[in-house]
C-alpha cells in the first residue's frame, strides 16, 4: 500500500541510534541507497520489513526505520521467505554479508533461487568476514591475501553470479556500494521485479580488505574507473521470451561470461532477468484466494473442522 504523501529517505531515518560501522565502510553507502530506494518505491515505513543475517552488514535494520528482523548467521533468506509468504503486502528486503549468503548460507541461497518468492536480496560483498575480524569470505580468490589473513587463500572463490543463474534466480545484478545513484536505481528495479531479485553489491571494507579498496574500484593504479555500467555498452540481460530455451541459454551464457570479467573492467548492472512464475503464483494456482489475499488475512483460529473429522468415520 502506497502512502498518500510520498515518503522521502528521511522518513526511513533512525534518530536515536547510529551505525557502528568503521569509517569509510561501504555499508554506509548501501544503507543510504536502501533508504533512497524505499522512498522512490513509495512505500510507507510500516509496509516494509528488512530482514538481515549476522555480520557487520547484518546490523543494517537497526539503522532504518521500518519493521526489521536481525536474524541468524546464514538464515536471512529462510526468514525473509516466511515473512513474505505470511504477508505478501509487505515489501521485503533481505540483506546480509557474503559469508552469510554464499558461505554458511549457500544452501539457502541455492534453494531460494529455485523458489522465487517475491523479495529483494542485497549481498554486501566485501571479500571478508568483517565482524569476526577479516577471515577470507567465499568470494576471496585463490592466492589472494588481505592483511588480516596469515597466508594466501588456498581455495577458490565461489562465483555468485553463476551460482545464482544455476539456482534459478530471476533477477541478478551487480552493484557497487560507492556508486549511489546506480545502486538506488538497481534496488528499485529489483523491488519492482516479481520474484527473488539478487544484487551482489561490491562493498569496500577498509579495515580488513586492503585489496578491494575504493582506490581499487576507482582504478587509481590503471588510470580509469574499473566499474562500468553494462547498460552503457548495450548489454541486455533480460530474457524477452521466457519460453524460448535458446534465448535463456544465450542470456545465461552471456551473464556467465560477464561474471568472469574482473581486473581492468568490472561490469555493473542487471546481468540476467527473466519473468517466471513466483512461488506465490504457484500457491494461487492451487487456491485462487491467495492471488490477492495474504495468508495473514485468510486463516481464522477456531474454525469448524467437523467435515475433516467426518472423513475418518
Amino acid at each position: 500500500m502506497a502512502v498518500a504523501t510520498l515518503p522521502t529517505a528521511k522518513d526511513f531515518a533512525v534518530t536515536d541510534s547510529h551505525p557502528d560501522w568503521c569509517g569509510g565502510c561501504g555499508d554506509f553507502g548501501i544503507l543510504n541507497a536502501v533508504k533512497q530506494a524505499l522512498a522512490q518505491r513509495g512505500r510507507a515505513p510500516h509496509d516494509v520489513m528488512v530482514v538481515s543475517g549476522i555480520g557487520c552488514s547484518g546490523k543494517l535494520p537497526h539503522y532504518v526505520r521500518t519493521y526489521g528482523l536481525h536474524t541468524l548467521h546464514g538464515r536471512v533468506l529462510n526468514v525473509a521467505t516466511g515473512v513474505k509468504l505470511a504477508n505478501r503486502d509487505l515489501e521485503v528486503l533481505a540483506v546480509g554479508g557474503d559469508g552469510d549468503g554464499y558461505g554458511i548460507g549457500a544452501g539457502y541461497f541455492v534453494n531460494s533461487g529455485r523458489r522465487n518468492v517475491d523479495f529483494t536480496y542485497l549481498v554486501h560483498n566485501n571479500g571478508v568476514y568483517g565482524l569476526t575480524k577479516g577471515q577470507a569470505s567465499p568470494t576471496m580468490q585463490r592466492g589472494m591475501q588481505v592483511k588480516s589473513m596469515p597466508e594466501p587463500a588456498i581455495i577458490d572463490a565461489v562465483n555468485p553470479i553463476g551460482l545464482a543463474i544455476s539456482s534459478g534466480y530471476t533477477f541478478i545484478a551487480r552493484g557497487y556500494a560507492m556508486a549511489q545513484r546506480e545502486l538506488v536505481g538497481l534496488i528499485v528495479q529489483a523491488m519492482e521485479h516479481r520474484g527473488t531479485a539478487l544484487i551482489d553489491i561490491l562493498q569496500p571494507c577498509p579495515v580488513y580488505n586492503d585489496l578491494l579498496t575504493i582506490d581499487f574500484f576507482r582504478g587509481r593504479d590503471i588510470g580509469h574507473q574499473r566499474t562500468y555500467a553494462l547498460a552503457d555498452e548495450g548489454y541486455d540481460g533480460k530474457v524477452h521470451d521466457p519460453s524460448n530455451v535458446d534465448e535463456i541459454v544465450a542470456k545465461q551464457q552471456a551473464a556467465l561470461a560477464k561474471s568472469y570479467e574482473w581486473g581492468e573492467r568490472i561490469p555493473m548492472g542487471v546481468l540476467y532477468q527473466i519473468d517466471l512464475p513466483t512461488f506465490e503464483d504457484g500457491v494461487a494456482s492451487r487456491r485462487p484466494e491467495f492471488e490477492t489475499a495474504s495468508l495473514i488475512d485468510s486463516a481464522r483460529p477456531g474454525v469448524d473442522v467437523s467435515s475433516l473429522e467426518d472423513r475418518f468415520r
Binding site: 530482514v51 529462510n78 526468514v79 515473512v83 495473514i296
Partner: protein
C-alpha cells in the same frame, strides 16, 4: 474373553499390500461399531523388508496392543519364520511364536508351508492359493487374468479368510475398498468382492462348521466413530487453530502429517512448504510467526536437532510461536528411523545453547495430540515463545477409535497485540518490560509499530545492547515468562492424576505411554485388588515442580515408566523436585510398550496374594 476382543496381525514385505489390507480391515471393524487400535512396525525401507500391522479390536476403548496374536495373516514366509540367520542385516524372528494356541495363521500356499512343516501343531493353518483365488475371481467377471494388473488384489485373500475365521461379513469390507479406489478403478470393486468371497469360502471349507474361538460382533447401533491416526489428528488440529503456514522437510515418522495437510491446500487456507532442510523449515516458520500468522513445522529427532538454533532465535526475539511438533523416533542420530521412542525429552527441554524460555508439552493419546496442538498455538501467541509438542511414532502411526477429536469449543487466544496510536509520543517498544512479562506485539504492517528485533541481546526497543542492567532486565523478563505460564495454564492441562487419589502404585509417565498404561491399569484392577493410578505429566517445560512433588510425596509406591534408556522424566523430576524415583520400567527397543508389558511391570512392583497372582497369570 469379552466379545470382539481380538488381536490380528497382517504382515509381509513392504510394498506387497500390507498397508492397504490393514487399513481396509481396521476401518471395516470401526464401521461395524467395534473399538479399534492398531500399531504398525516397518523398516526404513521402501520395498521388500518386513512390515506388519497389529489390529486390536474390543467392545470398549483400547489404546494399546497386546503381545498375543489371535490371527496371523501372512503375505510371505518371512512373516512367519523371520529372516535368514546368516544375513548380517535387518534381521527378525518372525511371528510364529506370538500366535496363541488355538489361533490361526493364513498363508499363501505357494510358500510351501504345511501343517506338518509349520513347526507348531497347536494353531490352525489356512494355506490358501492367493493367486489362484484372485485368478478365479477375475475370470468370474469374464476378464482375462493379468498378473501385472490383478496380482495386487492378492492381499484381499487373507482378509477374506479372516472374515471367515471371525464370522465377519465380507460385505462390511467392500465399501471401504470402494472408497479407497479412485474413480477410474471402481470397476475393480466387484472383482475385489469376488476375491474376498472366494477366500472366505476357501477358508470356510477348511474350517468346516467348527468355527474359530473368537468372533467379531458388530454393534451397528453406535454413532459413527472416527478411526484416526495421530498425524491426521494433529493436522486437523492445526487447521482448527488457524495455522496458515506449515513448513516441513521429509522425515519419518513426521512427514505423513505434512503430506496429509498438503492434500488439503486447495480447500483450506494453509500453505504447506517443503523446505530444503529443517534449518530452513524452522526459520521460515519463525519469520512467518513474526509476520503475524500462526505457523508450524513438524519433524523427527534428526530434523529437530537442526531446528535448534531457530528455537533460540524465536525465543530471544519473542516470536509468537512457531509450534513445532516433534515426532520422536529411535535415536541417537539416524538411529531407528521408523521405530518408536521417548528419547528426545532431554534435548527438547534445552534444544540449543544459552538460556531461554520455551514450552514443551507432551500429549498422551490421539485426542490430547489434537487438543494440545491447538492449545500450543494459544500459548505461542500469548507468551511469545516457540512451543514444542512432543509426539512420537506411536502416536503418529497408530490408529485409534474416538468419538471426535474434542477440538470444538477450545478457546482461542492470540495474546496481547499492539494497536497503538500512530502519533503517540513514545516510540513503540517491542520488548517492553511489563508486569505480565509479555510485551504486546505489533503485527508488521501496523502503522507506528515499526520495530527491529534481533537475535543479539537487545533493549526494550529491540536494539543491540550489551549493557549490564539491560541484560538483567531482559533475561528476567524472558525467563520470568516460565513462571507466569505455570501460574496461568490450568493445572488440569499441566498434568493429570488418573485414577483414585490413593493407590497401591503410582505410575509416573509422560506422553504416549499413557495409552498402554491406561489399558494395563484397567486390566490389573479387573484381575486383582491392586489399585494403580497414573501421574501423567503433560507440561514438561515449564515444569509443575510443586504440584508434582506433592503428589509424589504422598504416593505409596512409585514406578517410572518410559520408552527410553535413561529414564529422562525421572531425571527431570529429580532435577526439579529432588525426588529420585528408584523403580523404573524402561524400554528402549524402538517398540512401544504393550498393555501386557505394563501389566507385568505393575505386578512386579506390587506383591500380590499368591492366589490372585496365579489367576492373573493364567488369564
Amino acid at each position: 474373553m469379552p466379545p470382539s476382543d481380538l488381536s490380528l496381525m497382517i504382515g509381509g514385505p513392504a510394498g506387497s499390500g500390507v498397508n492397504p489390507a490393514s487399513e481396509i480391515f481396521m476401518k471395516a471393524c470401526s464401521r461395524a461399531g467395534v473399538f479399534v487400535f492398531t500399531n504398525v512396525e516397518y523398516h526404513s525401507n521402501i520395498h521388500g523388508r518386513h512390515i506388519f500391522f497389529r489390529i486390536r479390536t474390543a467392545d470398549e476403548p483400547v489404546t494399546s496392543h497386546v503381545d498375543r496374536v489371535d490371527v496371523l495373516l501372512a503375505l510371505d514366509a518371512e512373516t512367519i519364520y523371520g529372516t535368514d540367520p546368516h544375513q548380517d542385516y535387518q534381521s527378525h524372528r518372525g511371528h510364529l511364536h506370538e500366535v496363541v494356541p488355538g489361533g490361526a495363521i493364513v498363508v499363501d500356499a505357494k510358500v510351501g508351508i504345511t501343517a506338518e512343516n509349520l513347526g507348531r501343531d497347536d494353531v490352525r493353518l489356512l494355506s490358501l492359493p492367493y493367486d489362484d483365488i484372485v485368478r478365479s475371481a477375475v475370470e468370474e467377471h469374464g476378464l482375462e487374468y493379468n498378473a501385472r494388473r490383478h496380482a495386487v488384489m492378492a492381499n484381499m485373500v487373507p482378509l477374506g479368510a479372516c472374515c471367515a475365521l471371525l464370522d465377519f461379513d465380507v460385505d462390511r469390507v467392500i465399501p471401504i475398498v470402494a472408497e479407497r479406489l479412485p474413480e477410474r478403478h471402481q470397476n475393480l470393486v466387484p472383482i475385489n468382492r469376488s476375491v474376498l468371497q472366494h477366500a472366505w469360502q476357501a477358508a470356510h471349507d477348511i474350517l468346516g462348521d467348527e468355527g474359530f474361538f473368537q468372533t467379531l460382533h458388530p454393534c451397528d447401533d453406535q454413532p459413527a466413530r472416527m478411526l484416526v491416526a495421530g498425524h491426521e489428528a494433529i493436522g486437523i488440529a492445526k487447521l482448527h487453530a488457524g495455522c496458515a503456514f506449515q513448513t516441513y522437510y521429509p522425515i519419518a515418522p513426521a512427514s505423513d502429517e505434512s503430506v496429509y495437510l498438503e492434500a488439503l491446500q486447495a480447500d483450506w487456507p494453509i500453505v504447506v512448504l517443503q523446505a530444503e532442510d529443517e534449518v530452513a523449515s524452522m526459520n521460515m516458520a519463525v519469520g512467518a510467526a513474526h509476520a503475524g500468522v500462526r505457523a508450524a513445522t513438524s519433524t523427527a529427532g534428526p530434523g529437530f536437532t537442526l531446528m535448534a538454533e531457530g528455537m533460540g532465535f524465536a525465543s530471544i526475539t519473542e516470536a509468537p510461536g512457531p509450534v513445532v511438533v516433534l515426532y520422536q523416533r529411535g535415536g541417537p542420530s539416524t538411529g531407528l528411523p521408523t521405530r518408536n521412542s521417548q528419547q528426545d525429552l532431554r534435548f527438547a527441554l534445552q534444544p540449543a545453547h544459552g538460556e531461554f524460555p520455551h514450552i514443551v508439552v507432551a500429549p498422551g493419546d490421539v485426542e490430547e495430540a489434537a487438543q494440545y496442538t491447538h492449545l500450543a498455538f494459544n500459548w505461542g501467541d500469548r507468551y511469545q515463545v516457540p512451543v514444542v509438542v512432543l509426539a512420537d511414532k506411536f502416536i503418529a502411526n497408530s490408529h485409534f477409535t474416538v468419538e471426535s477429536l474434542g477440538l470444538k469449543g477450545l478457546p482461542v487466544d492470540r495474546g496481547a497485540v499492539w494497536t497503538g496510536d500512530v502519533n503517540g509520543a513514545e516510540p513503540y517498544r517491542r520488548h517492553q518490560l511489563t508486569s505480565s512479562g509479555v510485551s504486546p506485539r505489533a503485527v508488521p504492517g501496523t502503522p507506528g509499530g515499526e520495530f527491529v528485533t534481533t537475535s543479539d541481546e537487545h533493549t526494550e526497543r529491540g536494539r543491540i545492547e550489551e549493557d549490564i542492567d539491560n541484560r538483567i532486565d531482559q533475561m528476567d523478563k524472558r525467563m520470568g515468562k516460565l513462571d507466569i505460564m505455570l501460574q496461568e495454564i490450568p493445572e488440569a492441562e499441566q498434568f493429570a492424576l488418573h485414577g483414585s487419589d490413593e493407590a497401591d502404585l503410582t505410575i509416573v509417565s509422560w506422553g504416549s505411554t499413557r495409552c498402554p498404561i491406561r489399558d494395563a491399569i484397567r486390566q490389573v484392577e479387573r484381575e486383582s485388588d491392586i489399585t494403580v493410578n497414573n501421574l501423567q505429566i503433560r507440561l514438561l517445560r515449564p515444569f509443575p515442580a510443586d504440584a508434582v512433588r506433592e503428589i509424589l510425596e504422598r504416593a505409596n509406591r512409585l514406578l517410572l515408566l518410559e520408552d527410553n534408556y535413561e529414564g529422562q522424566l525421572g531425571l527431570l523430576v529429580a532435577e526439579r523436585t529432588g525426588i529420585q524415583i528408584a523403580e523404573k520400567a524402561l524400554k528402549y527397543t524402538g517398540r512401544p510398550f504393550s498393555q501386557d508389558e505394563v501389566a507385568q511391570e505393575i505386578r512386579r512392583q506390587v506383591p500380590m496374594p499368591e492366589a490372585v497372582a496365579a489367576a492373573a497369570q493364567g488369564s
